[in-house]
């Protein structure tokens, strides 16, 4: 698959597949093309060439609106509607379909560990950053999509909240078994949450594999350096703890 923004080549001959029910992480630095690739899946970006399949269906031939309603989406800053309550926000996708389902909303909230009694009628500005991302997550899964796309979902959170969110996300994914593709710049987070990691650089895939494969047999110097940096971070953490 290829895509360019103006003169900048964002994606060059990328190929990625996400097995049903699995979680795949796209890892890379800013400008590596990972967000562009993610946004191709729900047609927020249409690639210049190449094809994408969700299930058996070619994304290109589908109505973008209908496609998006079947794919959950979480962005880095949540993107909650500030003038809607938590319950209304979580019910957004259902509402676009012309339905309203309070049970689904309550279930989605409990999946992300938020009590409906406490939170349903609150507005986003009355929540903490972590709670807002939980609501965004609940909104993405409330209509039980076949897959969810997440763009740096925990990137704007502090370390403690981030760890809590990772746990909550892991639980939710286990419970729903939903196919997941997410973008992160943090290899440790990718290792913690995903079965497979795709390392991207300058619009190309450097390597695809489990964290053990990336560590044991790095395909390029870039991957080797990336893994080494993440390990050094962990080690320095370990040293300062003892």
């Amino acid at each position: 698959m290829r895509h360019r923004f103006g003169a900048t080549i964002a994606l060059a001959g990328v190929s990625v597949d996400v097995p049903a029910g699995a979680a795949v992480a796209l890892v890379g630095e800013s400008g590596s093309g990972k967000t562009t690739l993610l946004r191709c899946f729900n047609r927020m970006v249409d690639p210049d060439s190449g094809d994408l399949f969700v299930g058996e269906a070619n994304v290109r031939t589908q109505d973008p609106t209908a496609l998006r309603r079947r794919l959950g989406y979480v962005q880095q800053h949540g993107g909650l509607l500030p003038h809607w309550t938590v319950a209304e926000n979580v019910g957004l996708v259902l509402r676009t379909l012309g339905t309203r389902d309070d049970t689904a909303v309550a279930e989605a909230l409990s999946l992300v560990g938020l009590s409906i009694d406490t939170f349903a009628q609150r507005y986003p500005h009355e929540l903490s950053g972590g709670q807002r991302q939980r609501v965004a997550l609940a909104r993405a899964v409330a209509a039980r999509p076949g897959a969810i796309l997440l763009d740096e979902p925990f990137g704007a959170l502090d370390a403690i909240t981030r760890a809590e969110m990772q746990d909550a996300f892991d639980r939710l994914r286990t419970q729903l078994g939903v196919t997941t593709l997410f973008v992160t710049h943090d290899l440790a987070e990718a290792a913690r949450l995903a079965e497979a990691i795709v390392v991207m650089r300058a619009g190309r895939v450097e390597q695809r594999g489990t964290i053990a494969e990336l560590r044991g047999a790095p395909a390029t110097a870039y991957v080797r350096a990336l893994v080494a940096r993440a390990l050094a971070q962990l080690e320095s953490l370990g040293r300062s703890a003892t």
């Binding site: 998006r68 509607l81 003038h83 676009t96």
Partner: protein, 514 residues
Amino acid sequence: MNLTLALQLAAISTLSLQSDRPVVVASKPFGESYLLAEMFAQVLESRGIAVERRPGLGATEILFGALRTNAIDVYPEYTGTGLVAILHDTASRQNVYRHVAQRFLELYGVRWLAPLGFENTYAIAVRRDVAARDSLATLSDLARASPQLVGGFTADFIGRADGLAGLTRVYGMHFRAVRPLSPALKYQALASGGVDVIDGYSTDGLLARYNLVTLTDNKGFFPPYDAAAVVSPRLARDRPDAIAALALLSGRIDVMEMRALNKRIEVDREDVATVARDALRTILGASPSPAERANPIAIQAREVPWARIGALTARHLLLVAIALMAAIVVAVPLGLFLERARRAAEPTVGALGVLQTIPSIALLAFMIPLFGVGVVPALVALWLYALYPIARATYSGVRDADPDAVESAEALGATPAQRLLWVRLPLAAPVIMSGVRTAAVITVGAATLAAFIGAGGLGEPIVEGLALADTQLILSGAIPAALLALVVDGVLALIERRLRPAHLRTRRVSVLGS
């Protein structure tokens, strides 16, 4: 506010297009013109002819433009003005009336009735002390002293060939400075020493009041300014009864009589309708008209007329409300559309912004050839003014609505319409409302000028007050208009609170109950 009301108002104005409409009598914005127009109106009414009054409608160009297009039917004009300001022509002094009457009929189909009997020429006036100091008696004397003097002239006089330009040419005047002054203020400016020379009218009542010296036109520069009724092509063709009634005044008012009548209005501050009625009684020998005027919004007694202010305020509010509603109906969808068509946005909004830079009085003048005089042109002008703030606010409000919220709604499958109704519009509502508030305040202010083209409202006493140099009358329109602007802004502020999106509202219930 409802639509039928708007339609009724529109109907009032389209009436002017029908042949059985009342005879529309207009005047220029100064006392004598008011009085003559009121005499025309009363003499028509005394013959059972329905009349619509447009006192103080505008200066020569506006009035004549309205007359030749049949937007008005009759107004008092002066032969010299017709010759120089409209025909841009010359004629020997004895021939001016005949020449003007003939040319007007040929060129415009406009008819001059026989002159009323007096001449009202320009009277260049100075304070008595200045006349004594510089020994001024003639305009040639004035030319000699002019480099030390400041002139204060009406815009009309400054701009006309038979005014300052001609005076400069013929007498070689070069004033130290020339200040444009409103007719209402020039006498005060002269008396207070702000200027040294003004253009008065020879029949002005105020010349006597301020103890001024008028200088002799020793070179015969000013053409004769015989007053006469000029009538529209429509009236001349279709209403011989009205022409006959107006002709009753021809040759019946001499200069002494006119000066005395002007003094009653300008110096003694008597009511125009009363003075006109008295004058007609003298001329025609009997009480000519029903005592009560048909027009409910009209010049009544000269003390503060509370009932009239109430009616004018209601009228003012109605004009503002209709113009504002119409502007909202157009500008909000336009702003929303421009958000979808960004390329066209800035040029479109910019073009509306240019309208804002046209002075209200000029915009109103542009409306006359298109829509005549009265309510419709005023509404169109006010509507044009209100478009810009609303369209600008709507466009930037929806454009700048929380981009994360808009994007996530899109990425989760909201259609463009859903994104607009659920996200952009509610988030933009406070910005749009602030645009509406700005438009409302502008419109309340601009609507005072609507009186210049006969749409009524609180501008009416302002226009009359300016013409009659009556401060109290001016304030009786200006103060309610200012208060109205505050009230309208306050009411819209309350509506804005109610439209504020939930997350911007305080949890606490306010006294105002938002």
